[in-house]
């Protein structure tokens, strides 16, 4: 079956009613003829109505524990459920059982689920009926689980279905649209104080047609940290984290769908392009260049003052243990954002400095770009820039040349069940000289399952504030960034909690569904377990862990099971990995005189100081990465 097309798109509200739906009769026709060719009974069944989809989705949620499902085979899994397939991907590619009163029910697969702004976006791509049949075999298998060594395993099925990947792209694009987010990466112009807008701003600026104001683009990394901060505050359940739901702009959505995927086949999912075409169309001001091939993903050419903005963004994930048996681990992921305001269709060559010493692994580049790696120090990216901001390349560094910007340790000793003593000893920006500048640095000690009564102690630097569930220590506040100097910060104190209230009902229900057993013996267990651990602290943690909730598979670990402090900071003026771009050596062909502005920024991702005195999660380090 050629290409990638969609039979239907549904958007469900948090309460599982259909807020928006769109079906594509052309694609449906193809589906039917394919079914007829294969002799499938599904031919008879038209696409489910909105109500039926909503009912099927609710039904699945009840069957599979949550809207997404277990993802992994649990004790309560039965043949004919997604978790029976025993793969985390079934939290994203689901099956809906459509039950009909008047006719026989049937199975709808693959339904792509994506959540955005509390909405569930469901996309049903067109696949060959025999693929559905293959999946049904996995879905109803009568043995204990699949292995990739078997024929017709889930992996080979997914590999043979690019339309599923396409459906995810569509779902994400729609998700971004209804959440009001843009996928535009952040590019900071160093010369002008104002942030640079997106494509539409460029277009409207040059063409002069007013467009309804859109929310200011927000940078992706900060969003990511915001969502992980939400996690820290103890609201781990995705289903209920955001209660506020923005109404869907249906006109915008309809416009996007008809523009980006006419007749159910996606053409271009770039929101900005679609919006620009919709708003402005193609006038006589935009003749196609006669001598050059204009790419489909660049419907408009830029006109105006020429310049190139480049930005390196790095995110550090770190786990600091301060222990001899576990080495600290750092991983840096970086990306080069670009905004090339160049007229015509030029090629740009971008030499990279310091790729080899930093052992940079180039993960991916933009569709228009090519990465060339010749020799010891001749790495460059050649690209033909699209309009607007885009991510030029993404890379990963496992071997940083710079020292850790925040070093030190965090110790928390729970003296009793309702209180503990803690100690921080940190060194900031050691070994970093100007122009590295730390904009801000904040440390958060989350206690998501305890209510904090009081905190005693004064830090050597900065200020301390307290919320109900966390303690925040601002070492460097924004606006008073530090540059060229090292800060030693210590903070020791005590923290007291309100007495603990055990919420047993949840853990019982969880254990029932996951383990298929009851926690009726709890009282016995509590009495007995204390004998096994000698350490008081372990006993306390074990007690606390007893009513832990299982985290979603999307989380890296069960945060609530550990005591840690999370460091957030932002450093500008350099990269952590040491890989940079020399703006002067950027060459543009055909040659034009365009200034190249380059900025660098390092932000913290999951930068965690684990409590040195307690258990902490760690991972084995592969030898070649050491």
């Amino acid at each position: 079956m050629a290409g990638c097309s969609f039979r239907a798109i549904w958007i469900l509200t948090p309460h599982h009613s259909v807020a928006f739906s769109r079906t594509f009769p052309v694609v449906e026709r193809r589906w039917r003829s394919a079914c007829a060719r294969d002799g499938e009974v599904e031919t008879q069944a038209p696409l489910p109505s909105d109500l039926e989809v909503a009912a099927a989705f609710t039904d699945r949620k009840q069957r599979e524990g949550s809207a997404r499902g277990f993802g992994i085979c649990v004790a309560s899994s039965t043949p004919g459920s997604d978790s029976w397939v025993d793969d985390p991907v079934t939290r994203h590619i689901i099956t809906l059982h459509i039950n009909r009163e008047e006719a026989e029910g049937y199975m709808l697969w693959p339904v792509i689920v994506h959540t955005s702004g509390n909405y569930y976006i469901l996309v049903l791509p067109l696949v060959e009926p025999k693929k559905v049949r293959e999946y049904r075999k996995l879905y109803q298998r009568n043995n204990c689980g699949g292995s990739v060594k078997e024929h017709d395993n889930l992996s080979s099925l997914l590999l043979s279905l690019p339309c599923i990947t396409g459906a995810f792209m569509v779902a994400h694009a729609i998700g971004d649209l209804i959440a009001g987010e843009t996928s535009d990466p952040e590019v900071v112009a160093t010369s002008s104080s104002s942030a640079v807008g997106g494509l539409l701003d460029t277009l409207t600026g040059s063409i002069g047609i007013g467009v309804a104001p859109r929310p200011k683009p927000t940078s992706v990394p900060i969003l990511a940290s915001a969502s992980s901060a939400a996690t820290l505050m103890g609201s781990t359940l995705v289903d209920s984290s955001r209660t506020m739901t923005k109404p869907i702009d249906k006109d915008l959505l309809r416009g996007f769908i008809s523009g980006s995927m006419p007749y159910g086949t996606p053409v271009d999912l770039n929101q900005n392009n679609i919006a620009a075409i919709r708003t402005t169309g193609f006038g006589s001001a935009d003749p196609p260049p006669a001598d050059l091939r204009q790419p489909a993903w660049k419907p408009y050419l830029y006109r105006g003052r020429q310049r190139v903005l480049l930005m390196t963004q790095e995110t550090i994930n770190a786990a600091l243990y301060d222990r001899e048996d576990i080495p600290d681990s750092f991983s840096i992921s970086g990306q080069i954002n670009c905004r090339a305001e160049l007229e015509g269709l030029p090629d740009v060559q971008l030499p990279l400095i310091g790729v080899k010493p930093a052992k940079v692994k180039m993960l991916s580049v933009h569709q228009s770009a090519q990465y060339s790696d010749h020799g010891e120090d001749k790495q460059a990216i050649v690209f033909s820039p699209p309009v607007g901001s885009f991510v030029l390349a993404r890379y990963q560094v496992s071997h940083a040349t710079n020292p850790a910007p925040v070093k030190g340790f965090y110790q928390l000793s729970l003296v009793s069940e309702d209180g503990g003593q803690f100690l921080f000893r940190l060194t900031l920006m050691e070994g970093y000289k100007s122009p590295y500048c730390m904009d801000f640095c904040t440390i958060i000690m989350p206690f998501p399952r305890r209510r904090i009564l009081s905190v005693d102690g004064t830090p050597s630097v900065g200020t301390v504030s307290m919320t109900e569930r966390s303690i925040e220590w601002k070492i460097v506040t924004s606006g008073r960034g530090i540059s060229g100097k090292t800060i030693d910060a210590t903070f020791s104190g005590t923290v007291r909690f309100h007495p603990r209230v055990v919420n047993k009902s949840l853990s019982v229900s969880l254990s029932k569904s996951v383990l298929g057993c009851t926690a009726a013996e709890d009282s016995d267990e509590e009495r007995e377990s204390s004998n096994n651990s000698v350490n008081v602290e372990d006993v306390l943690m074990e007690k606390l862990n007893r009513d832990l909730e299982a985290v979603d598979l999307e989380e890296p670990l069960c945060w609530q099971a550990f005591n840690y402090a999370k460091v957030s900071f932002k450093i500008t003026g350099g990269t952590f990995s040491g890989m940079t771009i020399d703006p002067k050596s950027v060459s543009i062909y055909p040659v034009v005189k365009a200034p190249v502005e380059y900025s660098m920024q390092v932000t913290s991702g999951d930068y965690i100081l684990w409590n040195t005195l307690a258990r902490s999660p760690h991972a084995a380090v592969p030898k070649d990465l050491c």
Partner: protein
Amino acid sequence: MPLTPFTIPQIALSDQNLVLSPPSDVNLREIRRVLAFLLDRPRDLTPGAISVLTSALVDIADALEDCVPAVSALLKVNFSSLLSSHNPFLSHSILSLYRHFSEAFNEYDIGKVAYRLQLSASDTGQKLIFRLLALHWLFGSTLLTSQVSSLTSLPGFYPQVFDPLAVKAKKLDAISVSASEGDGAVSLLEDGLVCISYFRWLPGWSTETLVAFRAMHKLLIGVMPHDGSDNGPGRTRLGSLMESTIFADLENVLIHLALEHHPLVPVIATFISRLLQCETHSPIGSRFLQTLDRCLIPNLKPGYGLSFYFPLLEKISENETVAPKGVLELLKRHMVCLTDEHGPDTGHRSWSQGSRVLSICRVMLKKHKGSQIFRPLSLLLAFTCQNFPDLEVRDNARIYLRMLACIPGKKLRQTLSIGEQKSGLAPAPLPASLIDVPPHPSPDLKKSTGIASYIHLERLKPPLVKQSWFLPVQGSVPALSNGSGPAEGGIMDIVTSVAPSSPDESNKTDSSKVAYQKEASRVMDPNTALLLRVLRTHFGCIPDYRVMPGIKIRIPCLLRFESDPFIRTWGFESCDEQTLPALYAIKITFSTLSKYGKIPSCRVPFLLGDLLKSDLAIVAVGQGNDESIEHSNFAKVFLELQPEDPMPGLIDIFINANTATEQVVSGFLRPVTIGIEDMFLKAILPPNVSDMWVSRYYSDLFDTLWEACGSSVNIGRETFPLNGGKGAVSINGKQSVKFLEVPEDVLINAVERHLAGFVVRVAGASLVKVVQQNRVIENIVWDEKEEEEDDLDVGPSGDDFSAENALVAYSREESELDVEYTQAEMESNSNDRSLAIVDKKKSVGNICVLIFLPPRYHLLFLMEIGYGSTMVRMRTDHWPCLAYVDEYLEALF
């Protein structure tokens, strides 16, 4: 008809498959031009367009493979670089080209693709789903998988601390797939699991735990995939898997987890049951359970903490391949522990834990063969129903014990399965036989005829007298018409010779007669009055068996059967040679022609066959294991007699039992012999006799009865009412003597061995010394005064003594002859007894023996012990017994 745009080509709308003719040259040229045009421009297309293009290319290239051979070469040049795009849709489209035109790419290219996918799985900037998909693509193609399965690239799959759990799970999959290729790679999986190693401290329902166990499961099924895989039927690899280090390591991991982290026990149980439910992998699950039974169960301690392990114990008990002994013994210790630790605040816990244990017992009952579980389970249940603090648990235990004991295995399993159909896959038809009375299988007479040769009911202690009378004499049947009524069954012809006479009617008194005689009160001398008072007291203690429970005699017997002949006769569905045949619900009924009252039948719930034909079983019983629970290879049965006439006899035995195959075994066994000594009892002690006067009382009673049974006329017509008030008896004594030509030490030994309990007095200084030294006979009257030989009689009256003089004289004559002979013989043989012979005429002393013969008779011995010979004077109020006593005394030595 839905509205469709006119630009849609007709082919998309047509329902029929169009039959295309082969392309002409012009067509081909056009096609080539179009292809060249498209292949030149992939960079200018949007990802969606490229997707359409690639799938179109695949179709075209398939169709025109011969006509346009250069397509695949062009693909490589124009599309390869797009693979590194961070648009996953684009990457996937390109990947599908690699899939279809794999011959166009060399190994290096493929390796690069695999590496790229591996990298994008680690790309933290990418969205989660695309990281997962990248791993799926990588392992969806065998071409790519082979590139990363090498050990060198595996560390790339080590999960990072901050990888989402879904990615961790998939990365672990990747490692376990590769690790299953070789033993050396197991450590890789262990390293990989480090990232979620803290699951040990999390509750069992945590996602981390699920991920960890999933990885272990994937490793197993990676080594041994289900049928239809590349590796052919997985079964052939089963053996090698079980021997591999992967398997041993996994076993160790599980045991360690179960021991150290008990919240994970339910997870381990779920893990194993998942394997058990799978047709291909159930042997692995069984093997795990066996290992746990071997290595975990012995290390568990009873106590409240054991409740953590119940899910696992349930799994072990459900599995038929694991011997249930270990679990049951642990549970027994647990129940003992619960009972010991029971206190005022443990009521609920005792109940809940006891119930859990019983539910495991129930599983055992359902899943295992009765022969395997009977002994340990019955011990456990018996202890529970007797001692457990909680009433409900006790009750249930009793019910289970009953079921275990009384219902044959197959039926028991059916009974327990009632109401549990919902869990089973195929509900077994409800056996109607459980509700209605089943059509009783008629006993197979042919098979039952020979059962006496291999089912044995034997006395624990064989009777002393090997009764020659009881020899089965077939020809003597007509003799049984000797007034004892029609013989039932007519088999036991020996009975006729055993009970030669009908019971003496005159010895029995009916109440009216007693009442009449009671009225006759006479004047008598004080000596007689004292005598009568002692006798009335004594007889007043003897129950009248007609109106109240009489005196009972219990004879311990053993029931056993030999396996080999049993199996030959009855057949046996045995799964292994270790399993022994069993009899269920054995009922033994007794019948006899002797007057032993109604002998209650015995029931033995369950009996296993003998392993060997040796008498090991009997030796074991000799060690005094007197529990009422039957032992697995023999059962202890008590014959309970209530003799109305103290005579030896034979008891016929009829057995009725079920086999495991629901056949009925029934028939007669060899009869059991009852000897006269089985009737010997101690006289009943009146309740008002204090402990210190017991020996004196017996001594006085002996004297009184001796006198009463003598030829005294004083009490000849006197009647003595029995306990119960309805009956009375009179004493009609007879006497006899017996000369025993045995040395005194032999005699003393024999008395001490067989009659110690009945000795009431020992007289004579030297005898007293000897007997006291032996310390066998105690708490009697010791009379150390030297007696003259002619003053043997301890009785107060000289008259009766004279009356028996003739007998004594006669005996003496004989004895002298005998002694002389004996002496001569001894002298000729040896000289070591010369000392005794010198004093042979001299008496050593007397031993007085008082024996009560139920229902109301007495047997008195007065043994005059001399050196080398002994004169036993006997008196009794039941003269028929004297005939047997004579033989008995001879058999003593």
